[in-house]
Amino acid sequence: MPTSSRRKMKLAKYTFLALAAMLLAACTNDDTDLEWLIDNNPGKVVPPVIEMDYSDLDEGLDVIVTDPSDETYNDYWENSPWTTTVRVNYTADGATVTGTGTRAKAVIDGGHVVLTILASRVHVIASGECQDGSLKVYSDNKYKMTLNGLTLANPTGPAINNQCGKTLYLIVAQGTANKLQDGADYAYVEEEDMKGTLFSEGQVIFSGQGELEVTSVSHNAIASDDYLRFRKGCKYKLTSEKGNCLRGKDAVYVDGSVFNMTTRGDAKKGITSRGLVAINGGRATIITSGAPVVEAELNDTTSSAGVKCDSIMTIAGGELRILCLGEGGKGINAHQGIVMTGGKVTVVTQGVKGLASPKGIKCEGELAVTAGALYSYSKHARPVDATTLNLAPAHRVYETKTHLFKVEY
């Protein structure tokens, strides 16, 4: 073969080999590594960790309102005299009641006590421990009840059932630990409501400097068909497997205290009210994990929430920390607006979007913020969904992202 032909053959061979090598090399993928994208997403937000916080809270003195014209004057037991003391003491075998005299009468069935208060100015002090007991109270007058180291579990209904429509001043005695628990199945009484482990027909004003743990396996932890007010000084641990932690039909006022609430119920809430919800102080940590529920009759879906308020929600002080883990679970769901004039609110919703959208804050109405610090993060939905967002100027921090809303004054 001539030299030039050999050269051409050699050139053709090397060209072919080079092309073959290039074709083989062209088998790789040019996609960006997904893990890298996830880690470097500019919108990635690392929300604060929200977990139960049982630490002490320095919230100052509980100032008692002494002005009779003040609308909260009657919410302070200190403004009324208490002349009769009825003691209810529980043991493993049953209960004893002393001090009733003519001003009250008690019916005792094992550990189950039905106390009928016949006069005003009665102070009930409950203490002891019973795993099959309860305390039901009938009264036409407001009264005061002190939990003085009470552990009470009722397998068939509320641990404390207040059928009095007037004010119940419930005091958690200083330095005491109190535990209330209901059962899975309630034995209902005709024409009587029983909506939780601690249920009241009338308003309940909580005060004291002790600890109260309320657990419900089937209903609400604490429920009132009127309003609930919490003063400074206590520590509350509220847990409900199937219901709300706090339900004040007409309103819920949190003026102080430390709250740790957990609800695992579908479509259930940490705090819920058909009326006002006012956060004025304290520190409330709420963790919800329930899934949404379809209300077939209303053709609507209701989801779990840290706070659900059918009226105006106000935040003037304190700290509200909400973690929602359930599908569609909302941090705050307010139907008529939110007014924030102070305090600190942190909302983190981690639930996925399904039947309901897991918004951080859903506000049908105006969300107005003039002071305080508001942080809302929703992993899978909008952090804030408000009809109107009204932020006072001069905020120190303002940040909005797809899943984060933050404003601080």
Partner: protein, 250 residues
């Protein structure tokens, strides 16, 4: 090799070396063409052509095509062309963003088929040893609907997604200048081609030439630079392509 051939070879080699380094962020690939052309009559010829193109610095397949075409020589200076091309395209990954710049969805690269029909008018004129040619080509590419997957950053899972069917018209306008070197089988050429959809989408610059051996064998070697109009296609990557081709003509 004659002096003129050497000069051309050196110029091509320099262009191939220097141009890619001018824009390091651009992509580089290789285009291989293989074709056969049959002259049916004095005025009419048909051809079969395949193309293989890589990207990502030669490491990833960009597309593979197979085409049939016909050419009709109306006059010495005017030709009409028409053809059909079947394309298997490796679509690049796509990342969509939210308004705040955070990631919304990421669709990894995927293969799909497309169909393309084209028609062209090609006119040329000799100016001494130069030949100036202008080609206007209309092409319509149809991509059928395709199922693929994407990652949803909001919900943190891969989900199925449909890439909808799409048709697109493009007008390609090419101006080409060739130089006929006396007694040389190699013909150098430069060209510029504008791709216009709803507006100018990209421009292709070509430096190269063809080498014809015994009238039947035609070899092509060239360098392409595709410059995208990023106001229309912000995510498109400018590409450098080394083009090697062979056509058998009979």
């Amino acid at each position: 090799m004659g002096r003129s051939k050497r000069k051309i070879a050196v110029a091509l080699a320099l262009a191939a070396m220097l141009l890619p380094t001018a824009a390091m962020a651009d992509d580089t690939g290789l285009t291989l063409d293989l074709g056969v052309e049959k002259k049916v009559s004095k005025k009419f010829s048909v051809g079969l052509d395949t193309e293989f193109r890589t990207r990502n610095d030669f490491k990833t397949v960009d597309h593979v095509t197979a085409a049939v075409s016909g050419k009709y020589k109306v006059t010495k200076w005017l030709k009409l062309e028409a053809g059909y091309q079947f394309l298997v395209i490796n679509h690049r990954e796509h990342l969509s963003l939210h308004d705040d710049g955070s990631y919304n969805n990421w669709r990894p690269s995927y293969y799909s088929t497309s169909h393309r029909v084209s028609a062209a008018v090609n006119g040329d004129v000799d100016l001494g040893r130069f030949n100036v040619a202008l080609r206007e080509r209309w092409q319509y590419t149809y991509r059928p609907e395709h199922s693929t997957t994407r990652y949803d950053f909001d919900n943190e899972y891969m989900e199925d997604c449909q890439v909808h069917a799409k048709g697109k018209h493009v007008l390609r306008s090419r101006l080409k200048l060739e130089y006929n070197i006396p007694h040389c089988k190699f013909t150098p050429a430069v060209s510029v081609e504008a791709y216009t959809g709803s507006s100018l989408e990209k421009t292709r610059f070509v430096v190269g030439g063809s080498y014809t051996h015994k009238k039947h064998h035609s070899f092509e070697l060239g360098y392409h630079y595709q410059l995208y109009n990023h106001t229309v296609k912000p995510e498109a990557i400018n590409t450098h392509q080394i083009v090697m081709g062979y056509a058998y003509k009979f």
